[in-house]
Symmetry: C2
Subunit: 105 residues, 2 copies
DNA sequence: CTATTACTTAAGGATATACTAAAATAATGT
DNA sequence: ACATTATTTTAGTATATCCTTAAGTAATAG
């Protein structure tokens, strides 16, 4: 129960999920889309997502093709989509306002 | 956007949220309900939740009374409730099955 | 069967984070 | 004013995690 939240705590993993959310992509393609991170690092994140059942892999020749298992994410799928749509922003704004108040002191 | 997921990654913080989900509780009461953790540690977790706007505090005498800001959690509220109800278990079971398969090799 | 491409796994290091104990702050009581 | 209770903050440490480089697999190509 703990693990799904943990898996999504990492921004890179959320970005990977976004990339394979509605089209499948090979590991290499995913890595190519991401900035400032090595291929192995991406591969390690993919492993975490696989172990959580959040993505599925399919072999095609020498490529591994990934896609999100949206159903498996349950209510977390909506939370992810909200975050990509910036719809978690009310929360963020509140946090920022609090931060500002703190600094004013 | 990153921060809310990060805040919920920590099991203790999810437990704190559960404790103040539908009744308010003083910081000390929260700490008393939790096992194997010091009061300061709980206080630090409460700070994270406060900074994320996930809980509200109210002073009453020398006690600080906390409650969850469920509205502010947006779609994450449903994910939390699902996790407490064990309804994220399909995900977990898949992950465990995968784990078993790996060990069998 | 050697080389190349695509990817994963392993080893090691740097940084983040969660914890404890101790000190500081805040409100009330004597 | 001083003590007590409730909580937070600070300082320091241990552990987790994310990253990089290097080495290991797997599949196809020559």
């Amino acid at each position: 129960m703990s693990a799904p939240f943990r898996a999504l705590a990492e921004p890179r993993r959320r970005e990977i999920l976004r990339l394979v959310w509605d089209r499948e992509r090979a590991a290499g393609e995913i890595a190519a889309e991401m900035d400032d991170v090595s291929f192995p690092a991406v591969s390690q994140h993919l492993k975490v997502l696989r172990d959580e059942g959040m993505v599925e892999v399919r072999k095609e020749g020498r490529r591994r093709i990934y896609r999100a298992r949206r159903e498996a994410l349950g209510p977390l799928a909506a939370a992810l989509e909200a975050s990509w749509a910036g719809r978690l922003s009310r929360l963020r704004n509140l946090a920022e306002a609090r931060e500002r108040r703190k600094e004013e002191r």
